[in-house]
């Protein structure tokens, strides 16, 4: 169990005296206080949180996190947040609010564009530091400032025209409106545009003869390449290969390029001296609050990026009703998020499952044919609760989930299959630890334990575990091949994985209450392939 907290201040939240939302040097009224997209720091209460990576690999959360974070600049920050289970419902709601606001596709697109542009600004400023020639450095700097201005203004527009309900985005929008109206920002925008316009007008010619280079103004000489193309135009047969070599900028301009640029600057002295002044005046244009917003935004964007293609493939996500007051949990049309990612990328269908616990029900005992999706169901159950506790939207059309104090996962260990006794012992030791640490507010997910022993042993030990689980009143998923465990009392719900009746080899991943059964009929196969009269008729008239 790797409980722990990170040293990242944003993960700890609550930074008294951190960047204020107020633009410098304006007399505008103070904007509502924005501090964080992740935690409501205005409430004064510290959020309850614990970082838990113990179930990451069994639940395939590690795969999910790895794909969510990808190669993003803030990947470590995002990963830490994704493993950080929240213990207070208010922070879960605080994040749900932001996610709900981001359901607005046009707002999300603008915010995404903002994030992309900001990342470009940072990479430009990084380039500037590496460059040797003054005029080139100034060019990159001007470009960075221009992207920044566009990004900030577009975001301010986007936020002010969107309907915002989240506390976090409303506060930030108020801050941004003030910032964009400030004199500092306005002059940055105006100066940037003037400098760019002036430079964009410049056209020049170079003539290369041996080692000599003449640099002059351009005087409308005709394009010779066009003349050649025109001559051979009558043979044109549609698209052909592009033989142009891809010449773009080369980082760190060489001395010949620099010499040419120097002569261009002499041909156009006004444009270049104005550029010098501009760079001195706006040396520190990036606002710290904008920067923090953009960093925390990555948590939301990364997760939405992950679930976007799944939604496009027809899968639903919902904001679970997270509660610590009731164990009557349910989820509709839910699925394993890691498996869904893989299947969608392969264009394969995803089977969704429902589950529901009512009244005294606490434990799902999942049995049934192998390869039927039992483990997948257990994983999905665990993932669902973990991600709900992080404040993310979860897989399904609707869900009520329990805000647990700890999530325990016990999956079979694959290693050391020769030492049966050792493995059984190890299983027992691990389970005892879980059962000792679990409280009635915990969630326990167990998969195929005691497979290293005889059926009667497994039956005996399984019963013992179940009795303890029942006594703990803990929410539990128990995957087993021991059928008897499914009927140990009113708190136990029996679920079975199912098979396709006409094709027993096919995996369904469907887990339902009750027994499976089916018969092979030719017409059922025809039905499966959609080639019965009715289905064919519909398909052919489509």
């Amino acid at each position: 169990m790797a409980d722990g907290t990170s040293q990242d201040p944003d993960l700890l939240g609550g930074q008294p005296g951190s960047a204020s939302g107020e633009p410098p040097s304006t007399s505008a009224p103070p904007a509502p206080h924005f501090t964080s997209l992740l935690f409501d720091e205005s409430s004064g209460k510290a959020a309850v949180r614990r970082e838990d990576r113990s179930s990451a690999s069994d639940l395939n959360l590690d795969q999910i996190v790895k794909t969510v974070t990808g190669v993003r600049e803030e990947r470590d920050f995002i990963a830490a947040l994704l493993y950080q289970q929240l213990g207070d419902i208010d922070t879960v709601h605080y994040r749900h609010e932001v996610y709900r606001d981001l359901e607005d596709q046009s707002l999300l697109e603008r915010i995404q564009q903002f994030a992309d542009l900001m990342s470009k600004v940072r990479s430009h400023l990084g380039q500037v530091e590496k460059m040797q020639y003054l005029h080139q450095r100034e060019g990159w700097f001007l470009d960075a400032a221009s992207i920044y201005c566009d990004a900030v203004r577009a975001l301010a527009d986007g936020l002010s025209s969107a309907r915002l309900d989240s506390r976090a985005l409303r506060a930030f929008s108020a801050f941004l409106t003030g910032y964009v109206a400030s004199a500092t920002f306005e002059s940055l925008v105006a100066d940037t545009r003037d400098r760019q316009d002036a430079l964009a007008q410049i056209r020049y010619c170079i003539r290369i003869r041996g080692g000599r280079v003449d640099v002059s103004r351009y005087e409308d000489q005709a394009d010779y390449s066009a003349e050649v193309l025109k001559t051979f135009e009558r043979f044109k047969q549609g698209a052909v290969k592009d033989y142009r070599l891809n010449y773009r900028t080369w980082p760190g301009m060489n001395h010949v390029g620099a010499q040419i640029l120097q002569l261009v600057a002499r041909l156009f002295p006004d444009e270049f001296s104005a550029l010098d002044d501009y760079c001195r005046q706006h040396a520190e244009f990036l606002h710290e609050t904008v920067r923090r917003f953009e960093r925390e935004l990555q948590f939301y964007l990364a997760y939405l990026d992950y679930i976007g293609p799944l939604r496009a493939a027809g899968l639903s996500f919902c904001y679970p009703d997270v509660t610590a007051a009731s164990k009557e949990i349910f989820a509709n049309d839910t699925f394993d998020l890691a498996l869904a990612k893989k299947l969608v990328s392969e264009g394969k269908p995803i089977v969704r499952n429902d589950f529901r616990m009512e009244g005294p029900e606490r434990i799902f005992v999942v049995s049934g044919p192998n390869q039927g999706g039992k483990t997948t169901f257990a994983r999905a159950f665990g993932q669902l609760h973990h991600l709900a506790s992080v404040g993310c939207p979860v897989a399904g059309t609707a869900a009520r989930l329990f805000l647990f104090d700890r999530l325990f996962v016990h999956f079979e260990r694959k290693e050391d299959l020769t030492n049966m006794r050792g493995k059984l012992e190890d299983d027992l030791v691990r389970i005892r630890k879980v059962l000792q640490a679990a409280t009635s507010n915990s969630i326990v997910v167990m998969n195929e334990i005691f497979t290293s022993t005889t059926l009667s042993d497994a039956r005996f030990l399984g019963k013992k575990v179940m009795e303890k689980v029942i006594q703990l009143d803990v929410l539990c998923v128990y995957v087993t091949f021991v059928d008897e465990l499914a009927s140990l009392g009113e708190s136990v719900v029996s679920l079975v994985s199912t098979i396709v009746p006409e094709n027993p080899a096919q995996r369904t991943y469907k887990v339902v209450r009750g027994p499976a059964d089916g018969l092979a009929y030719a017409l059922a196969i025809a039905e499966k392939h959609n080639v019965t009269y009715e289905r064919l008729r519909a398909r052919l008239s489509a």
Partner: protein, 528 residues
């Protein structure tokens, strides 16, 4: 400049996706035999023929356009083969010239100039054929081709090309224009027509700002020299591209000419083979779908005719107005052969070819689809039905109204009652979608079900057993009979179950191995 020999006003798309069911068509109709006879061992012709044959035309006029070109080709095969040789030669010239693998625009430019010079020689050869032989051709496709060659490639144009090919070797320095990129480095280098740079009057009088500054890199500055040559490269980047693309355009003209002529050359090859075998050919009469025409006489399975040592018998059918043709009857009675001959003739007609028949009239369909029993299918019955229905399902994804669907012993992987029920449902849905269906079947329940409906639009054909069990391979209009003749064939072959060779073989009566038609008949005849 275009070849336009396969379509009146467009290039044939040789890289278009083949119809999704092309593998089934090739396998079920044994198209490989046809294509090999067209290609005569030439891989390129094989590929061209496959693409043209599989990409059916949908319009009777478009079919007639190709038929007329093909008729011209059959009348003047030598000239067509000579033009084809020029196109092939041009593309061989191209391969002989060092190509564009280089990362330097100046190397790209000089290779492009050499390629253009070679191409000009081949273009002159084509022009000469046009000047000398054009009047022997009458089809719209070929007369337009010759007229275009004479108009577009006149003597003046050959002179202009020669001028530019000299200019493009230019070595008097380059004049480039440029703009400032966002980082102030140069971009947008464009090579300019190199006139002398004039100073304006103010400058000449020493007034105003100068419009030109210079520097010279020191002789030992290798990095500087490299940077300059890099700049030059940027400058001629576009013109090198222009020249190389122009060369490519000319090669694509030759490529298109080679491909389109290649199809007709392939048809000429096939024509020769069929003449040797004395197989009758004729140009089919295509009509629009609404005409409900299907009749032919002496129709052969062209692939069987190409392989067989003996002459092959043709079938005569009049099926005008019929949308369901059910074929029943004796094993090895030529049912599969008949079914293939229909599919092949339809495909050949719709790509503009002649067909192996004395006469053939049919409506133009939206596509030919085949669902043939597969001998190599797994032996597990449930798995096989699953596979058959899965193939049916992918056909349903593709097939639409006005298509032609050929079934050969389909849905026989389960018992007759179930198989017939599936067959009936499938066929009913297809007929309602205005799809013409040919169905070869042993399933009496299925065939009789349709027979008892006495529909005007259904035709029943039967493979007849001749006296003494000898097959004529000719089908007759006749209602289905409740038994098959598998036993009969079995005894003719001498009963392999009595030998200890193959005790687990599937019962011969139920299967008509598509490839064994010929062997069986051969053996039967030798035995007599």
């Amino acid at each position: 400049m275009k070849a336009y020999l396969l379509h009146q006003e467009q290039d044939f798309n040789f890289v278009a996706d083949l119809p999704p069911n092309h593998d089934d068509l090739i396998q079920d109709l044994e198209l490989t035999t046809l294509l090999e006879a067209m290609a005569l061992g030439d891989k390129f012709l094989y590929e061209v023929s496959a693409r043209v044959v599989l990409a059916s035309l949908g319009d009777p006029e478009a079919i007639l356009y190709r038929q007329r070109v093909l008729a011209d080709c059959i009348a003047e095969p030598e000239i067509i083969r000579e033009m084809y040789a020029i196109a092939v030669g041009a593309l061989e010239d191209k391969r002989g010239i060092w190509g564009y693998g280089s990362q330097s625009p100046s190397l790209i430019l000089s290779a492009a100039v050499r390629q253009l010079e070679a191409a000009v020689i081949r273009l002159k050869q084509l022009r000469k054929i046009a000047d000398d032989r054009a009047e022997r051709f009458h089809s719209a496709g070929l007369t337009t081709l010759f007229r275009t060659l004479q108009r577009e490639l006149d003597d003046e144009y050959f002179m202009t090309m020669g001028y530019h090919l000299k200019q493009l070797r230019f070595r008097n320095g380059e004049l480039l224009s440029a703009e400032l990129d966002r980082d102030n480095s140069g971009i947008g280098f464009v090579l300019r027509s190199s006139g002398s740079v004039k100073r304006n009057w103010k400058e000449r009088l020493g007034m105003g700002s100068r419009s030109s500054y210079s520097f010279t890199i020191p002789p030992r500055d290798d990095a500087g020299a490299n940077a300059l040559s890099d700049l030059t490269s940027r400058g001629i980047n576009l013109v090198a591209n222009a020249a190389a693309q122009s060369a490519d355009h000319i090669w694509s003209y030759f490529t298109m000419l080679r491909g389109e002529l290649g199809f007709y050359v392939s048809c000429l090859n096939l024509c020769n083979r069929l003449a040797v075998k004395e197989v009758p050919i004729s140009f089919p009469a295509p009509s629009s779908w609404s005409q409900r025409v299907l009749s032919f006489s002496g129709l052969r399975d062209i692939c069987l005719a190409l392989r067989a040592e003996q002459r092959v018998v043709g079938n005569d059918i009049e099926a005008n107005g019929k949308s369901l043709i059910i074929i029943t009857g004796a094993n090895s009675g030529g049912k599969s052969t008949f079914l293939r001959s229909v599919g092949l003739a339809q495909l050949m007609m719709q790509c503009g070819m002649f067909v192996a028949a004395e006469a053939y009239s049919a409506r133009v369909c939206g596509g030919v689809f085949t669902h043939f029993i597969r001998e190599e299918d797994s032996t597990m019955t449930s798995g096989r039905l699953d596979e058959e229905l899965s193939r049916m399902s992918s056909i349903a994804d593709q097939i639409r109204s006005h298509c032609l669907m050929l079934f050969n012993e389909s849905f026989a992987a389960t018992n007759e009652r179930e198989g017939s029920e599936i067959g009936r449902q499938v066929v009913r849905a297809l007929l309602e979608a205005e799809i013409t269906v040919f169905f070869v079947t042993h399933q009496f329940d299925f065939a009789n079900g349709f027979h008892s409906q006495r529909a005007e639009s259904t035709l029943f054909l039967r493979a007849e057993r001749q006296s003494e069990g000898q097959r004529r391979y000719k089908l007759a209009v006749a209602e289905p009979l409740p038994t098959s003749f598998g036993e009969d064939v079995y005894y003719q072959l001498g009963g392999w179950l009595d030998s200890d060779e193959d005790p687990d073989s599937p019962s011969g009566s139920a299967r008509e191995a598509s490839a064994s038609n010929l062997d069986t008949s051969g053996r039967v005849r030798q035995a007599e």
